[in-house]
């Protein structure tokens, strides 16, 4: 991703004097210094007070999940705002929103690996962690939405005394397979990627208990070359498999809507536009997480402005696809000459819930897609942090608009209703933010947030010179 444009200050050590591009890793690092820096975050004996406070706060918010789910189990889904015709409310909106956020993690770990975008290495691990925690939050919603979550295993095909089986012509049955495969493969990919780094933690840990736990988790990794080659092969294969997987998951989720004969849902543009929207919101969430982390743990050397710039560019690209999707929806509702489609779009824009549509246009299109063209703003950390929230609000409203405004005024005016979320809907949704943050804070403290072995591979010292030259000068052509 080469950038043209005004070259920033030439004497800035973080930029390449020839291209003006920000460095992926600050100069002057060695294998040891990056290892110490990243492992030190985990192995330090003094836990930062701010981390403790953050965990306390996040865990308190996560209590919302406990309370809301308890009450839900006692009373049933009637405590939510779902009614007929608006039978899909917050649960489905939040499910799609969370799982979309997760998709950026897989995109970074898999697709950017296949495209040999080595800058991804620094943000890869915590983006994958973000994926897993987002899938945890997402998976909860459909399970609770079925009404009796303790019977959730009925979704799976297994021989049972009732003699019933899933109906595989329904996208909802496809979803079970897509989401559970996605969750499993994401966890495996994340863990396999972490094994060599867990070996490093085992070798550097001072505390016997930490040594023991990391020792078991690292499976006895010892960095053997034959192991590395198989490991690289498996990583590449997992990346190759995750790439179509991540596309298929959000495609399948869009089928949940698109296969239904409902005005506003029944369109062929849904799969690509859902996938692009997922990546858009996911990169926003990576920024939401990466910006405070690099500041708090002083990781500016490893997560540089280059990463933020590149992520902002991905957001610009995917945001534009999303904007195209919105435009096409409006166009098709007119061009299809379908009375129902036309009314749905008019109602979406100017009906009682029209405000949601205009919030969506403002936060997803108007603010990001006008400002992200500016390189100055793309490397402005404060602005990107602000924008990441704007986009995630926008993407939540996108799902709100799709789910609610299509459903509440369907074909038969006599069955029209409205949708109003209850306090339990809000409590569960806000609770999942707490759950997500809690899991992420625990991950940041207990596991290596940045893949050390992959960062080492990006250093200029990795260059192998024939004849075993001893001098290891940092050569300028590297990186």
């Amino acid at each position: 991703m080469a950038t043209k444009g005004p070259v920033p200050e030439i004497d800035d050590p973080m930029t390449d004097p020839r291209t003006g591009e920000y460095a992926v890793i600050a100069p002057g690092h060695t294998f040891k210094s990056v290892t110490q820096k990243i492992a030190g975050i985990v192995l330090t004996s003094n836990t930062p007070v701010a981390w403790m406070g953050g965990l306390f706060l996040a865990a308190s918010v996560a209590m919302g999940v406990v309370i809301a789910v308890t009450w839900l189990v006692l009373k049933g889904v009637g405590i939510w705002g779902i009614t007929i015709p608006g039978a899909w409310g917050f649960a489905i909106i939040n499910f799609v929103w969370w799982i979309g956020i997760g998709h950026a993690g897989t995109l970074i770990s898999a697709i950017l690996l296949l495209f040999k975008q080595t800058w991804r290495n620094s943000i890869n691990r915590f983006a994958e962690a973000m994926t897993i925690f987002a899938v945890v939050c997402a998976g909860m919603f459909p399970l609770l939405h079925i009404g009796r979550p303790w019977l959730g295993y009925w979704l799976l095909p297994y021989p049972n005394s009732m003699n019933v089986w899933p109906q595989f012509r329904s996208p909802l049955a496809w979803d079970v397979f897509a989401v559970s495969t996605y969750a499993t493969i994401s966890v495996v990919f994340w863990y396999i990627g972490m094994v060599p780094d867990l070996g490093t933690l085992r070798d550097r840990a001072k505390l016997p208990l930490a040594k023991y736990i990391y020792g078991i988790l690292s499976l006895g990794w010892r960095g053997s070359t034959r192991h590395w080659i198989r490991y690289e092969s498996a990583s590449l294969l997992l990346a190759g498999l995750s790439t179509p997987l991540v596309l298929s998951v959000h495609t399948t989720i869009s089928f949940d809507f698109a296969v239904a004969a409902m005005a506003g849902w029944h369109t062929t543009i849904f799969p690509p536009y859902f996938v692009a929207g997922a990546v858009y919101s996911g990169f926003a969430m990576v920024l939401t997480l990466a910006i405070p982390i690099r500041k708090f743990y002083h990781l500016e050397d490893l997560v540089t402005l280059r990463h933020l710039d590149n992520m902002a560019k991905v957001m610009l690209a995917t945001g534009s696809i999303v904007a195209y999707g919105y435009g096409m929806e409006v166009f098709m509702s007119w061009y299809s000459a379908s009375h129902w489609e036309f009314f749905m779009m008019w109602n979406r824009m100017f009906g009682p819930m029209g405000w949601a549509y205009w919030i969506l246009i403002l936060t997803n299109i108007a603010i990001p897609l006008t400002t992200l063209w500016s390189r100055k703003l793309r490397v402005n950390v404060g602005y990107l942090f602000f924008l990441s929230f704007v986009v995630n609000i926008g993407m939540w409203f996108e799902r709100f608009v799709i789910v609610v405004t299509s459903l509440y005024r369907d074909y038969l005016p006599s069955s029209w209703g409205t949708y109003r979320a209850t306090k339990w809907d809000y409590m569960l949704f806000i609770g999942t933010w707490g759950l997500f943050t809690t899991l992420f804070l625990l991950f940041a403290r207990l596991a290596p947030m940045i893949p050390m072995s992959e960062i080492r591979m990006m250093l200029p010292q990795t260059k192998v010179r024939p004849g075993g030259a001893k001098a290891d000068v940092v050569v300028e052509e590297a990186l």
């Binding site: 294998f31 040891k32 290892t35 095909p157 089986w165 899933p166 109906q167 595989f168 012509r169 329904s170 496809w174 397979f177 897509a178 495969t181 499993t184 493969i185 495996v188 990919f189 396999i192 060599p196 070996g199 085992r202 070798d203 550097r204 020792g215 078991i216 499976l219 006895g220 010892r222 960095g223 053997s224 070359t225 034959r226 192991h227 590395w228 080659i229 198989r230 490991y231 690289e232 092969s233 498996a234 294969l237 997992l238 498999l241 089928f255 050390m452 072995s453 992959e454 080492r456 591979m457 010292q461 260059k463 192998v464 010179r465 024939p466 004849g467 075993g468 030259a469 001893k470 290891d472």
Partner: protein, 180 residues
């Protein structure tokens, strides 16, 4: 299996990947075959020097994927055609386009798990004990910033004094004898 005793091998420590690759290449030319490099990140040139090219991970992944595809497809066909036939929108019982997504997901699931666990199994992991962990400089270096070459004692050419002399000529940081 009786506990193995004696010398596992000679472990040479290097500071740079270039030295390691050079020493490994020379060791291979000198006829050593049972040897292994240990590095903090994958060094492809070291694998070339060891003449280690082929892994069976892709094959396992392929077999796993085919197995998943078959399982998924047969499951859906059996369930919707014989096990529990339902008339949905007058679609044929064997409506294969609808079966694509779950069969595809099962393919990915099985292939991914085969690649990951196949890699671990082929690597002989988990193996929490290894003689090399006895070497005083191994743990602090192999997963951080040092590059190791180990000539193993079960190589027919291995003879402690000669192997040590051979390794010394590449000016390693140290050459350590590792016990089982």
């Amino acid at each position: 299996m009786p506990p193995r005793e004696g010398v596992y091998g000679l472990l040479a420590e290097f500071n740079t990947p270039s030295e390691l690759v050079h020493a490994t290449e020379m060791a291979h030319r000198a006829g050593y075959r049972r040897m292994e490099c240990y590095t903090p990140y994958p060094v492809e040139q070291a694998a070339e020097a060891l003449r280690f090219h082929k892994t069976r991970v892709p094959l396992l992944c392929l077999l796993g994927g085919l197995c998943g595809l078959t399982t998924g497809a047969l499951l859906e066909i059996w369930v919707n055609v014989w096990g529990y036939p339902l008339n949905i929108r007058a679609m044929p019982l064997f409506s294969w386009p609808a079966f694509v997504v779950p069969a595809y997901e099962m393919t990915i699931l099985f292939a991914g798990l085969s690649a990951a666990f196949g890699m671990i199994a082929l690597n002989g992991l988990p193996q929490l004990y290894h003689p090399l962990f006895n070497a005083p400089n191994f743990a602090s270096g192999a997963t951080t910033d040092k590059f190791f070459l180990c000539l193993e004692s079960n190589d027919p050419r291995f003879e402690p004094a000669a192997a040590r002399a051979f390794l010394e000529q590449f000016a390693p940081v140290s050459v350590v004898e590792v016990d089982h």
